[in-house]
Symmetry: C2
Subunit: 151 residues, 2 copies
DNA sequence: GCTGCAAATGAGAATGATTTTCTTATAGCT
DNA sequence: AGCTATAAGAAAATCATTCTCATTTGCAGC
């Protein structure tokens, strides 16, 4: 709760600085986001928030996501289905591995891959601004001690 | 033209094998795709093909793209704007670098990055099925001989 | 070359995520 | 408390993509 409140306070001062208001709805959505440990989409956020405030509308969720994103408070990702998913941004940069069977999203980060990307862009005469990296994988069975290969 | 015709012939036999038909429309769309050296979206393909056959409909383009994709004849990519873009698939695997200023798409490939991705997935207990890598960059001015750093 | 029919097409309606419009409510300053 | 610009709610609009359905067309067999 403390962590959530800290995030909310930080965001509130960011808003203030931009001449924007801290509303009940924004507070609520921010709380939902801070408490989420997955990557919910707009409807998912709406559903969770709606449980606490049944007057909330989906438009407000979308609008709020935009504000939050423009303030750098959240990150938006669109995986293969094209639907935007959100996560709060106060963590180090990371990429995503998506389990193709379950849809589960696993976060990872690799300095080596970041560096490699920068070098590739440079070789093409570009300065890397940002990137999108998604790995789609299937869970491997744990290694056997002396396994026979199975077809 | 020869290359285009070869692609069309190959695709026709693929279709036949799947019990599907080679229609005028599919031939036309395939030709448009084979002649494209960029990454057009459905509307772009439609526009180019429509010039050759004004009875063509956009639905047919979408339907055909699905068939082509399921036969492995084309690849579909959705960059940041979420719109599907297509390119013919008879080339080695590659990733894309998008010029954030011009929108230009540059293709590149790197065995090192492929390998690194595979390793990262493996470390997380996954077998890499596929991946999506897009670099967004800005053109760097050509290096100066003894340049002073500019802000 | 004709027939039959399953597959494909064209035109437009339907879908689904997201954005916009417009009217009403409210945050935050005085 | 009162003012006013920003925000919210509800519903309509948008836009890419898919679907429906009536009509057309490949193509296999005669």
């Amino acid at each position: 709760m403390t962590e959530t409140d800290r995030r909310i306070a930080v965001f509130e001062s960011q808003l203030k600085g931009a001449g924007l208001r801290m509303t009940q709805q924004r507070r609520l959505i921010l709380r939902v986001l801070a408490e989420a440990d997955d990557h919910p989409d707009a409807k998912g956020i709406f559903t969770r928030a709606f449980a606490h405030d049944p007057t909330l509308s989906l438009s407000t969720v979308y609008r709020t996501m935009k504000v939050l994103e423009s303030q750098g408070a959240i990150e938006r990702h669109a995986f293969e289905d094209g639907i935007s998913r959100y996560e709060h941004a106060d963590q180090e940069h990371h990429d995503h591995l998506i389990d193709v069977d379950s849809g589960e999203v696993i976060e990872f980060s690799s300095d080596a891959i970041e560096e490699l990307q920068r070098r590739i862009a440079a070789e093409l005469g570009y300065e890397l601004v940002r990137h999108r990296l998604e790995l789609y994988g299937r869970k491997k069975p744990p290694a056997r001690r002396s396994g026979k290969k199975k077809s």
